[in-house]
């Protein structure tokens, strides 16, 4: 009788211990997820593989540019956000393909494809180590998300054991214009 009770107790305790271990193990996504580095907008935020310095923030209702010789104009119900940055790679030739803005509500707004073909877009530019490269990222998001934003950059979307840089953007420095022309020399 006692032996049966003892063995039941042992099984119960082992089950509790295993449940505790299982609930406190970080999930696979966290274990193999991005290696994050954060910083404020005024600093150059560096991770192990690349660094970011945000130069200017522009908000507009309409953007215009020339793509393959044809003029393109894009309007939005919310707001366009154009972020000018200087990127620098540390060791390898790389492209920063994933850029998103985390808005005030925590939602993630990836860079827009509606502005594909705009000049100086950084998602298709090769970064050579030692050479800083300037360019822009363009995002589309609702107006009320622009009050508290963070810029999230990484080599690829959903980086796995790769650097991800998060720059906390300063809402005070956002310049608002009605219409922005994106040319080869910047905005």
């Amino acid at each position: 009788m006692i032996r049966l009770l003892l063995s039941l107790l042992l099984v119960g305790m082992t089950a509790l211990l295993l449940a505790f271990l299982q609930s406190t193990t970080p999930s696979y996504a966290v274990l193999t997820g991005p290696i994050e580095t954060s910083g404020p907008q005024k600093d150059t935020v560096s991770s192990k593989t690349f660094s970011v310095k945000v130069a200017k923030l522009l908000r507009a209702k309409t953007i215009a540019f020339t793509s393959y010789g044809k003029p393109v104009e894009r309007q939005t119900e919310g707001a366009w956000l154009i972020v000018s940055v200087e990127l620098q790679s540390k060791y390898d030739t790389m492209t920063i393909q994933a850029a998103a803005i985390e808005g005030a509500s925590g939602r993630s707004y990836r860079q827009t494809h509606r502005a594909d073909g705009a000049p100086r877009l950084l998602s298709s530019k090769d970064l050579q180590p030692g050479l800083p490269t300037t360019g822009i990222f363009i995002f589309e998001l609702p107006e009320d998300e622009t009050s508290n934003m963070a810029l999230v950059l990484s080599r690829q979307p959903s980086p796995q054991l790769d650097s991800e840089i998060r720059v906390k953007l300063d809402g005070e420095t956002v310049e608002t214009r009605d219409r922005v022309e994106i040319g080869n020399n910047g905005v």
């Binding site: 999930s27 707004y109 827009t112 509606r114 589309e140």
Partner: protein, 196 residues
């Protein structure tokens, strides 16, 4: 010696009986569950066009359907094809930009439709990602052979998914279990110059 041999044989018999009962229970449970699943799920709500439908990831409002000779970005269709065009408003209800709208609409009374193409009406160009909490007018085009007869009222099923914060494989969030959430009957109007 004999006593211990007999008790061991008894123990083995009991173990076998208990294992057998357990196995039978498991089989019965699984069979019952599959029978139960086929019973429910045959009723899908019928919704009038213009009413918003919550499909988990997307808020879908089907407005109208028509047949056209051009795609919404102004390109001509290849010879012998017509474009079945549905007008809708799509809103991304998730927490990040998404382009997983392709499986949201199912044409019920059309045999073997090809994969649809999505267009953003605002740009008159292909639709890429939809940003969260920003509804957009969208046109969906199925390129069908011009000779195919279309029903008077097109039944479109809206497929919804449910959110799971931790899936069974990677403990990562995702949208699973696609199922028909609503059905909309769209009367098809003929667009300009539809007769080839």
């Amino acid at each position: 010696m004999n006593q211990s041999a007999i008790s061991k044989a008894n123990k083995a018999l009991y173990t076998r009986i208990i294992a057998g009962i357990g196995g039978l229970l498991a089989g019965a449970l699984s069979l019952g569950l599959s029978i139960y699943e086929t019973r429910t799920g045959t009723e899908v709500a019928q919704v009038p066009p213009g009413k918003p439908v919550d499909a988990g990831q997307w808020m879908v409002i089907l407005n109208s359907g028509s047949v056209a000779t051009e795609t919404p970005d102004g390109r001509h269709l290849p010879d012998g094809k017509k474009a079945l065009t549905l007008d809708l408003t799509l809103e991304n209800m998730t927490a990040e930009s998404s382009n997983l709208y392709r499986d949201t609409l199912k044409l019920e009374n059309l045999a073997n439709p090809p994969a649809p193409q999505f267009y953003l009406v605002r740009d008159n160009d292909l639709l890429w990602d939809l940003q969260p909490m920003m509804p957009e007018k969208v046109k969906v085009v199925w390129q069908l052979p011009a000779t195919q007869t279309l029903p008077k009222v097109l039944n479109v099923a809206i497929v919804g998914t449910t959110y799971k914060p931790k899936d069974n494989l990677y403990a990562a969030p995702g949208w699973f279990n696609p199922n028909d959430v609503a059905r909309v009957g769209l009367p098809l109007s003929v667009g300009q110059g539809a007769n080839p």
